[in-house]
């Protein structure tokens, strides 16, 4: 079949016209901020109260971009005759975002929940050396950390919830014998139910 001359052009223009009537997909970035999901790996925030200077993050980092300095302080014994305790005090916590590969291993390994991902992304610098951000900057980012998203109904219960439930059940079981309830004795069915919840 010989094509009609110019039919290809007409088809192309038809696509152009169709597209012209549609809404644009371009986001006008500096004027309109993007909506980022809570898990977005934008920048790392530090909640330094939780940091015990265990250095796990710095050790596990695949390219060693976390710098931590600390010193030991002695805390006098709380009770007379007790032992003096020493604790670590954080002097410097810096992340070189020029090296960071945004893998999130530091956040994953932190045993005391001191590091978090924030979707914040506007921290470009004109000098690569300025990308090493110190603890004050990391702390500022901490306040931009969103709450984690709720999990899919098919997901396993988070272990924090499971632990809380277990504790609550234990407490309920302890309080149970104290309650003088009319339905308490002689109803094994109900007590079986309570055991399950």
């Amino acid at each position: 079949m010989a094509p009609v001359p110019g039919s290809g052009l007409a088809k192309g223009l038809a696509v152009t016209l169709r597209t012209m009537t549609r809404k644009t997909v371009t986001e006008q970035y500096p004027d309109a901020q993007p909506e980022l999901p809570p898990r977005t790996r934008g920048v790392i925030g530090l909640f330094e109260e939780n940091c015990t200077v265990c250095m796990l993050c710095a050790r596990e980092c695949p390219d060693w971009c976390i710098y931590i300095d600390s010193h030991k302080e002695t805390v006098p014994a709380a009770t007379p005759g007790g032992r003096d305790r020493s604790r670590n005090v954080l002097d410097r916590f810096a992340i070189d975002f020029a090296l960071c590969m945004y893998c999130g291993i530091c956040i994953e390994v932190c045993p005391f929940d001191a590091l978090f991902w924030s979707p914040e992304f506007e921290y470009a610098e004109t000098d690569i050396r300025d990308l090493t951000h110190e603890r004050d900057k990391l702390r500022e980012w901490m306040w931009t950390v969103p709450a984690p998203p709720a999990l899919d109904p098919g997901a396993e219960e988070p272990k924090e919830l499971a632990a809380a439930r277990k504790a609550a059940d234990k407490l309920a079981a302890q309080q149970q014998p104290d309650q003088p309830g009319p339905d308490h004795p002689g109803q094994p069915d109900e007590s079986g139910q309570e055991g399950r919840t």
Binding site: G8, P37, R39, Y102, C103, L151, D152, P153, G154, E156
Partner: protein, 383 residues
């Protein structure tokens, strides 16, 4: 090298029968990256071609040897930056096999789903960039619009838009966010509804067809000789797909949805058609995974791991059908927390070697069409 006189000049016009050596790259827009092609030209015709690789060599295999298995995932998802999820998959599959670890069903189906979404993302990139190299500027915008839809879904689940870092030995990093499956289904439907842009606008374009049909035909023998794999190999009639022939993840149960697309011509058009049909199929597979995921009983998506994860002494080879072809990891462990050796077999490395076979005899103008139709990522070549 032939004993003929070689003159290296920037612009042509050398006397007849004088070979000209022309370097394409390492900084040439059509090589999307730092691939260098050393062409020997006789007028407009290429007499021999040699891909010079290694400008982006980052020593990934050596770096693997000084990283533990979680850190390796971070490195491994970077060699082919367009198929990060599939790259991670090979590493964790290898380690899981060494440990004899069973992955929870929910994780297996989620991994399959994300691997297929990653395949669509990868293919869309080439569906957009290949017409661009042939002079059609529009399709790349459509491709990126679709990529954006899928990347949003991937970002919501993993936090990353390219380097997902979502696989862990024994499963996935964390479970899906609530409502994610609905949004993923919506994204797949949205992308599928607009795929006719590539079916009609690109594939139906006379100029596109004229520039690709019969150009750069790769024979099945050359495919076998050079170890070419993926859609490029299937376009030459080599009917081989690990998802069907050695099913991993949940592909064994997806056989009626999985369609291995093959063509026999082996030219640029066949390669593009294979890629396009495979994109359609990957969207179907993603939907099938979402269906299965909805039926599954609640459960975990990962295993509890020891603080220090050590693969037992031994070796294994895990290969996966990555978007661009076969991606394999040969893992040798001496029982340490780092591998003794982790050999990486990447698809693009082998696919690009076929250029030495494909290019001689073709015109310089067709070189870009052939080069683009091999669908490679330079990071995947140089590792």
């Amino acid at each position: 090298m032939t004993p003929t006189t070689e003159t290296t000049v920037g612009i042509g016009g050398a006397a007849e029968s004088t070979d000209m050596v022309l370097n394409i790259g390492p900084q040439h827009p059509s090589t999307h990256g730092v691939l260098r092609l050393k062409l020997v030209l006789d007028g407009e015709r290429i007499t021999s071609a040699e891909p010079v690789i290694g400008y982006m060599h980052r020593g990934a295999e050596k770096l693997f040897e000084a990283r533990d298995y979680r850190q390796i995932i971070m490195l491994a998802n970077r060699h082919d930056w367009l198929s990060a999820f599939s790259n991670e998959l090979g590493v964790v599959l290898a380690v899981e096999r060494m440990l004899g670890m069973e992955v929870p069903t929910r994780a297996v189906w989620t991994r399959t789903l994300l691997a297929e979404l990653n395949r669509v993302l990868n293919h869309l990139m080439f569906l957009g960039s290949y017409p661009l190299e042939l002079g059609g500027i529009t399709p790349v915008f459509y491709a990126f619009r679709e990529r954006e839809v899928l990347q949003n879904v991937m970002e919501e689940v993993s936090g990353g838009r390219m380097h997902y870092m979502f696989n862990r030995v024994g499963g996935l990093k964390e479970d899906l966010p609530a409502g994610w499956t609905t949004r993923a289904r919506g994204a797949v439907a949205a992308v599928r509804s607009r795929m006719d842009v590539f079916d009609d606008l690109v594939l139906g374009n006379e100029i596109f067809r004229g520039r690709t049909r019969g150009v750069g035909a790769l024979s099945a023998e050359a495919v076998h000789a050079y170890g070419v794999s993926g859609p490029v190999a299937r376009a030459s009639g080599v009917d081989f797909d690990l998802r069907r022939d050695e099913p991993y993840l949940a592909y064994g149960e997806l056989q009626d949805t999985l369609k291995v697309v093959t063509r026999t011509d082996g030219d640029c058009l066949a390669r593009f058609e294979c890629l396009l049909a495979q994109t359609h199929n990957a969207l179907d597979l993603a939907d099938a995974c979402l269906d299965r995921l909805a039926e599954l009983a609640p459960g975990p998506v990962n295993q509890r791991l020891p603080k220090v994860l050590k693969a037992p002494e031994g070796h294994t080879y895990a290969w996966t059908e990555n978007p661009l072809g076969i991606n394999g990891y040969y893992l040798v462990s001496k029982g340490e927390k780092t591998p003794y050796r982790l050999k990486l077999r990447s698809a693009s490395y082998n696919n690009i070697q076929a250029l030495a076979e494909l290019l001689p005899g073709t015109l310089v103008a067709d070189m870009v069409a052939i080069l683009g139709s091999l669908f490679f990522v330079v990071g995947d070549i140089d590792k």
